[in-house]
Symmetry: C4
Subunit: 229 residues, 4 copies
Amino acid sequence: MKGNKIMLSEYEVRQAICEIGKRLYAKGYVAAKHGNISYKYSENEYFCTPRGVSKVFLTPDKIVKVDANGKKIGNGKYDPTSEVTLHIRMYKENPAIRALVHAQPPFSTAYAIKGVAINDCVLPENYVYLGVVPKGAYNKATGEISAELVDCMKNKKGFLFEGTSVFSTGDTLENAFDNVDSLEFYSKMNFIGSHIPNGASACEAVSDNSGNEAFVKAVTEQIIRELGK
Amino acid sequence: MKGNKIMLSEYEVRQAICEIGKRLYAKGYVAAKHGNISYKYSENEYFCTPRGVSKVFLTPDKIVKVDANGKKIGNGKYDPTSEVTLHIRMYKENPAIRALVHAQPPFSTAYAIKGVAINDCVLPENYVYLGVVPKGAYNKATGEISAELVDCMKNKKGFLFEGTSVFSTGDTLENAFDNVDSLEFYSKMNFIGSHIPNGASACEAVSDNSGNEAFVKAVTEQIIRELGK
Amino acid sequence: MKGNKIMLSEYEVRQAICEIGKRLYAKGYVAAKHGNISYKYSENEYFCTPRGVSKVFLTPDKIVKVDANGKKIGNGKYDPTSEVTLHIRMYKENPAIRALVHAQPPFSTAYAIKGVAINDCVLPENYVYLGVVPKGAYNKATGEISAELVDCMKNKKGFLFEGTSVFSTGDTLENAFDNVDSLEFYSKMNFIGSHIPNGASACEAVSDNSGNEAFVKAVTEQIIRELGK
Amino acid sequence: MKGNKIMLSEYEVRQAICEIGKRLYAKGYVAAKHGNISYKYSENEYFCTPRGVSKVFLTPDKIVKVDANGKKIGNGKYDPTSEVTLHIRMYKENPAIRALVHAQPPFSTAYAIKGVAINDCVLPENYVYLGVVPKGAYNKATGEISAELVDCMKNKKGFLFEGTSVFSTGDTLENAFDNVDSLEFYSKMNFIGSHIPNGASACEAVSDNSGNEAFVKAVTEQIIRELGK
């Protein structure tokens, strides 16, 4: 089995990972050389981003192929991301997943750092689609994965990695990107929304001329001149 | 009648929708595959964005032509956005509208989520032009459109879709884009403005050297050296 | 006299105005079709942006040439911005000015809307260079220009247009752009700075493992593997 | 010795400085003509950015070569940044440094302005890597460098220049860029995190339909139609 909808060639997978890397960089979801992306090509063939390369500089030849133990296949110049085994663990916990994105979009990562799961139904569509955005912990020192995190791996399209970052999953690379994008939008709405006072817009402008007939006439004439309408 | 000012060819309409899609994506007004755009070509011919395609990947062949019932014309590969009937309803409520943008710009969408209409005259020009930015509700479960929303459809260049998103209208696609852009700017000004303390700038810097004559001289000399002025 | 440092051809001026327009758009300093730019070519020849064109779509042929009364020279298709007479007034108040940018960068415009002049020496270099950023009012209904605003026109590289927007001046178009860019940076620093608690960083993270020796070792090893250092 | 890992040609150094300049500009880390970048080519050969050129307009020919006293080598048209002597001082304090970036990324610069060192372990990986982000003062009037700043120069990959800006160091130009990028991300997380209420997400949305079965069904059907899943 090679790709659940359309069978991609190895080169197309490499290209698609680069494309996602560039979109993550362009949206400010990965700083410096942070973040990693992977794709499950078959039960024993995975592609992932290399160690030590900024996502903006990815090219197909830099993408690394590994086996189910995370061991590099072939003798290419680049080594797999040091988090490749965590990715493979996720593919094992949920066989429907074909692609993973691990990134640090600013708003969702801030929620991860604060350990605040997004439980509110801020944006109903996002809520129905992503559900509660939970958090799960991973002990980098012992390699231990919390039961919470295993549950995230099994069930969620996007979740918070307690204290550090965000994971998203997908049946394709593009859907994994879209899930991290939705999750970040959801977090951003939660953040901005929590700073809008309830029930009224709060900005008191210095020069409210809207009741000034001459002013309204002058502005209207200007709009008509400027925009022709 | 085909376009109210300049008669556009079908291909030009498809191209213009793609252009607006790319601008929405570039400005961060649509995440993932969210958002939709439409154009009324004649009473029984409409063009809209396809289901399941990110706005950054739009190409003219992906734009879908539908009739006044939202039924796809022809047998192209792409299907119309699932919200096409809502768009057509709006064109019926206000015959002057030729283009619609449905998006999620972050600040105005946050106001929509909080159900906070922007009543203040924050920016007089925007106020005169857009007026109060109202909100209207739509019951996705029953398909029922609130009286408030019908009123928005009839009268406003931009309005909040309670709980989810933002609509803007225009006599051309570019003007519909400009209206969502103005609305988002208006919302952003309202948000930032509501977090500026009244009457004084509040940041206390640690190192105010502005009264230090030697410092001012050193900085001035540096500016002269650096900028030649 | 045509350009105070290097004599630009008319075509070069048109090109430079387009370049500044695109940079203003790219930085989010002008939404929709807002904003205008001008250049004083000689005592009776000025170039300015046209009415009703987004700054991202400027091309040299769309730039309009006007005389000292703001009347279009020649019979080109495009008309001058409706604010051209205000620009010319500024050139008269301060003969050293050769270029003007009128824009709405989000943070400085929010200060303008609130009528809050930036008096603090937030960023000493900016303070020495730009000085206090004052505000001045203009009565669009009567055309009356406040004494405050005349003073801004005579003396400042950047200032707030009370209630609406921001002006910057320069001896070249690029310097006028840099001045609005500096002013916006100054305003942004003032805004962000006013939301940082004094004396300590306030974010309490959920998972402070920094005192955990095994964790620090694991992270350090990962960094060494990942970055090779 | 010319470059600690790979020996770069002079032209490659000039190109790499331009690349870093463009990335700083694209990320909004340098406004107007602010910021400077340098590279230590040998004990008596340094390359740095020129005075009075925006980082977005850098080209290899504009990069300036100086000696260990900051004196321009050759008679090129461009002069070195007025801060070149401060850069050279840093190279002397820490011989392992090969590249320096001096910039004004908005969040870390705001912390610098407030004189707030980032002591918290907001993001454990960043903390382990960058450690506490200290601040150090420099007296522009007298040229005096504080003991704090000397300590930063000797020991840190990134630090705050009290009251004004941010410095980062690296063994390569790309690593110096990555360090300022990490530092800004760290500061941004600290800022956003300090505005998220503890323990719960705080946004109360107006229209929580998540318990409404018909609504959930309608949304789910729409998602299935829209995304095919």
